[in-house]
Amino acid sequence: MNKEMRRSSDEQWRELTRKFEAEVSHAEWTSLARRLDRHDRRRKTILRWGTFCVAVFALAFTGWLVWPQDSNPQGDTSQKVSQPAPVLQPRSSGPLTGPDFYTPDQVQAAEQQNVSDAVPFTRHGSMPGQVASAEFSVPFLFWEHAPVPFFHGDLTGITADPFPAHVSQVQGNTLAQRAATIRPRPRMGSTYLVMHVQPTWVNNRYQVPGSNDQTVHKQYSDIRQHQEQGSPGINAGISLNTPLWRGISVSGGLSVSTVTTQVNYNYTRAEVPVVDINTGVIAGYLSVGDSTVVEARHRNVQTYIETPVMFSWQFRSMGRFALDLGLGGSMMYLVGANTLQVDNKTLMVNDYQSPAAFNRWNTSLAGRIGLGMQLSQNWKASAAVQYQQILRNTDPSGASGRSTPSILGLRLALGYRLF
């Protein structure tokens, strides 16, 4: 048998067997589909636990990084409690001096100036006009919601269906026919990467302990008028959203928010107390001259990083749209110095306070109602109205005031399906 004959023979064998197909029963596919389902479930479980572990690690790492190391390095808790809070001592008249506030020279310098050109100062000697910058910029995780409407049909004719299509929905004899029966549809169990931005409106409520919900102007009767104002803020972040069961999902990611609060005062006193509206601590006194009515405006800018957990329930879906309710809470960490502005002069309030009396950690509760829209198989968008109430811990000295800002925001989010 020569080479040519062999080649011809091989070609005949190839040609013959190319047409050979062995029958495969539907049971074979069912078995394979079950195996693939098990594999998917296992993979998703691993990914969810992985996400959770990363979140916990990031939270712990963030806490370790940003925990105020200098607040009480020796861990002497008695110092925190027994430390007097001179800033809250009721005063009759005259400038308050002492080692925890200003040096006599500083007080004297302040007394020689009026509010309009008062020179703000800090115990550690910050320069006037200096704005504190964020001390840390570390990623952290928070839980975030994102509605996941499930639908099938093409994007112009969608019917709600919370469950994956049954395999029998694939019909047709040819590849083209069978492929044509498949429609883009997000599958139950999809995890999304969500980016959001949230313009906010902040309303502040200030309360002095023991004053039974009195606002600061009642505690300090020399302040003729006290007006709280809403102020704009912003929140932005990135998160992962993963479904738990049926329409309930949980999400987490990272977010940074800026809260600005503003309070206007009218004073008739010669010296005006400068109050940190968030902690209730009187940061100092500024001399304004004799019995002059003075308007002072406190603007407080704070930057928080947040670690909230948000569970959301998709209670209604209409085609590509879905309504959902979210409920969650968060830990908020105040980044950097607490900047206080009085008539365009910036003070760094943190520096006025006893370290033991200052608490950077807040907790908050948040609720929201949102409308989600599936833009395509991989993209979705949502808009939600969120109300967040910050629950302020009274500082350890038990003497300071307490402010509880509430934040109303319009949350706009865009999600991309990861898996």
């Binding site: 048998m1 004959m5 062999r6 011809s8 023979s9 091989d10 005949q12 064998w13 190839r14 040609e15 013959l16 067997t17 190319r18 047409k19 050979f20 197909e21 062995a22 029958e23 495969v24 074979e28 596919w29 078995s31 394979l32 589909a33 195996r35 693939l36 389902d37 594999h39 998917d40 994956p164 299509a165 395999v167 929905q169 694939v170 590849l175 083209a176 069978r178 492929a179 029966t181 498949i182 883009p184 599958r187 198989q377 991989n378 399906r417 898996f419």
Partner: protein, 197 residues
């Protein structure tokens, strides 16, 4: 054809996103062919079914590795061949690694003078049955050389035998197949004569 290719790429894209429906379409399309290929290597249909399922499982869970440089069927067949060879190595190790001395080559050369033409009257089922009736080593070498177009060096490397063993095995496989084809031809002719008579 262009439409089919377009749809196939769409199906693969949906498989990447985990669409079970798309996977089923691809499975229904290619599983019978893969079974056909596997049946050339294995005699037991149950073994072939297991391997085909394993191949599709692997293909669907690692479809991200498919870059579209070749046809999906080619990629699938490559996985199938690798899997089948592994299965054979594991289960038929002793039978695959029978080495043949160079001196046996002459003995193996068949005495064929004329070219056989059978493609018109032999059915694919009969062809596969004939290949299946070969001993496992001859069957495997023949499949790899003739159908998968491996070189003898590649076959030797994959099966852990020498190149000369591969060559001799192929020659013997061809000779046996030719004998079978001739017998079938003769049998069919006799049958025809009887019918005519």
């Amino acid at each position: 054809m262009i439409k089919t290719l377009f749809l196939e790429s769409e199906l693969i894209e949906q498989c990447r996103k985990g669409s079970r429906e798309a996977q089923q379409v691809l499975y229904n399309q290619y599983a019978p062919r893969m079974m056909g290929v596997c049946m050339r290597y294995l005699t037991e249909p149950e073994d072939a079914k297991d391997i085909v399922q394993e191949v599709f499982f692997k293909a669907f869970t690692r479809i991200g590795d498919f870059r579209g440089e070749s046809r999906f069927e080619t990629w699938l067949t490559r996985i199938l061949i690798n899997h089948t060879l592994n299965w054979l190595r594991k289960n038929k190790k002793r039978l695959l690694q029978v080495n043949i001395e160079d001196t046996d080559i002459q003995e193996a050369l068949p005495d064929e003078k004329e070219e056989l033409v059978w493609a018109d009257w032999l059915t694919p089922e009969e062809a596969v049955r004939m290949i299946n009736s070969l001993p496992v080593q001859q069957r495997t070498v023949l499949n790899l050389f003739v159908f998968e177009r491996f070189s003898h060096a590649e076959i030797a490397s994959r099966l852990g035998i020498s190149e000369s063993t591969s060559k001799v095995t192929l020659l013997r496989a061809r000779a046996k197949l030719n004998t079978m084809v001739r017998q079938k031809q003769k049998y069919d002719e006799q049958g025809d004569e009887k019918i005519i008579g």
